[in-house]
């Protein structure tokens, strides 16, 4: 769990940084969020997002770690991602935020890079694979209470695996998720 602890410390640091960065008009600009679904995969996915209101954009950077393999195996996946979001109207239902905040519908393009290493029960390395993921997403951010954000999203994703002694392999899928976070 050392990688997870490291990631938690990074997240706390990001949150502390975010708390010190606000726009001149006092509008919150930074959101730090978690993906609860990642816990089911024995992982932790943390994201920090910076709003750029002048361009109706925001940019998010994500870090993730998970140890999904069990039974007679063990694995570690480390990943990083970036996501560019275009906010359509910056208005949302059930939301209490100043006008112009990054809420409501958005469209996004995402890029992820991760590396997965597998070990057997004897802790012998069985190799590693690198995965490059891209996704086109649509989402909606609610802010129902203070800085809390609830952000469901869905979209099309394409992933390419390389390594492990196999040729590269690309596949598509329909993805969905839910992020919970806090805006500072």
């Amino acid at each position: 769990m050392k990688p997870a602890l490291t990631l938690a410390l990074v997240a706390a640091h990001l949150a502390a940084l975010a708390a010190t960065t606000r726009a001149d008009d006092g509008a919150a600009l930074t959101t730090v969020s978690l993906e609860p679904r990642a816990f089911a995969a024995h992982g932790l996915a943390v994201e920090a997002e910076r709003d750029v209101p002048a361009h109706r954009l925001s940019l998010a950077a994500a870090l993730a770690v998970r140890s999904t393999a069990g039974g007679d195996y063990d694995s570690t996946t480390l990943g990083a991602g970036v996501e560019l979001r275009y906010w359509l109207r910056r208005r949302a239902v059930w939301t209490h935020r100043p006008r112009g905040a990054a809420v409501g519908w958005y469209l996004a393009a995402r890029l992820d890079l991760s590396r997965t290493a597998l070990r057997d029960a004897m802790d012998t390395s069985l190799g590693a694979m690198t995965t490059l993921g891209t996704a086109a997403l649509v989402g909606y951010r609610f802010a129902p209470w203070r800085g809390l954000e609830v952000r469901p999203y869905a979209g099309l994703a394409v992933r390419t695996d390389t390594g492990g002694g196999l040729p590269a392999w690309t596949r598509g899928s329909l993805g969905y998720g839910l992020a919970l976070g806090w805006t500072f």
Binding site: R37, A41, A64, Y73, L126, G165, W169
Partner: protein, 290 residues
């Protein structure tokens, strides 16, 4: 470090860096039934006596097609394995024991064409997912069961040298109330209890079974992961090399996305990098590398 990124970028841009593959599509392995066809993927490298991998699809024994495994078969063929994807007779058109007889017939047919397709008939692994995982498990432990003997031209065949069962039912007796399972068995458990036993791989566990690899999502609510755990434990107790890769958070048809925590629909448990790494290691240990 720069070189590693360059290799990765080049591989991704090229969409792969494996061997060329020739495809024989729709090869009938039993002329009596129109459904009984396979696609064969042959590495174009002139090698002979290569290890082979045969894929059997899922779909509750009543749906699906060999196309489900086209990508998997192509990837392994590009790595140098001779691969095949198999269709079989589906419920309700055909019931017990047609599905397992077809699986055995397909395996026999593949081996019978070893010279034509450059494979070693003594180095054949089978991979199945869901219902396909059930059929390949039976190939591993019940190939001499009289009811399952194929009467096709290729004839009976010994068990495969390795079995990879993804989310496969190993004890179908827990689904006595499910119509599609009853249809596959051809009767209720009260009417034909011996068939329910016979179609449950866990009742056939034996010391001379080939090595097994089970791949299963821990959040699979269609085929509970306990099916693979129990079968692995029974095989190990019998002295068989049996391994389980359990994937936390994966469902029957969903997987947890790589670096984002997103859930991806249409991703099955044999798709993630963890599964490919376990699968290639298992193939190397059992049927060898090309």
């Amino acid at each position: 470090m720069r070189r590693r990124w360059l290799v990765l970028a080049t591989a991704i841009a090229a969409g792969g860096c494996g061997r060329d593959v020739a495809t024989r599509a729709g090869v009938p392995y039993d002329d009596r039934f129109g459904a009984d066809v396979m696609d064969v993927y042959l590495p174009v490298d002139g090698a002979t006596a290569r290890p082979a991998v045969m894929f059997i699809h899922g779909g509750g024994w009543s749906a699906g097609s060999r196309d489900h495994h086209t990508d998997h078969a192509t990837r392994l063929a590009e790595a140098g394995y001779v691969t095949a994807t198999v269709d079989y007779r589906l419920v309700p058109t055909a019931a017990y024991p047609a599905q397992e007889q077809d699986a055995q017939c397909a395996l026999a047919f593949l081996r019978a064409h070893a010279t034509d397709w450059g494979l070693d008939p003594a180095r054949v692994a089978v991979v199945g997912y869901s219902a396909g995982g059930h059929l390949v498990s039976l190939l591993g432990v019940a190939s001499d069961e009289p009811d399952f003997q194929p009467d096709c031209a290729a004839g009976p065949t010994p068990p495969p040298q390795a079995v990879i069962s993804g989310a496969g039912p190993q004890d179908i007796r827990i689904w006595t109330a499910i119509d599609s399972v009853r249809d596959m068995v051809g009767g209720s458990i009260d009417a034909v209890p011996e068939r329910w036993d016979r179609l449950s791989p866990i009742t056939h566990v034996r010391a001379d079974a080939p090595p097994f690899l089970f791949i299963h999502g821990s959040s699979d609510w269609i085929v509970p992961v306990a099916q693979s755990r129990d079968m692995r434990d029974a095989l190990v107790a019998a002295g068989v090399d049996a391994r389980l890769l359990e994937l936390a958070g994966d469902g029957h048809l969903t997987g947890v996305g790589g670096a984002s925590g997103r859930e991806d629909l249409g991703v099955i448990s044999i798709d993630p990098p963890e599964a490919w790494l376990a699968l290639t290691d298992f193939l190397a240990d059992t049927v060898g590398t090309p």
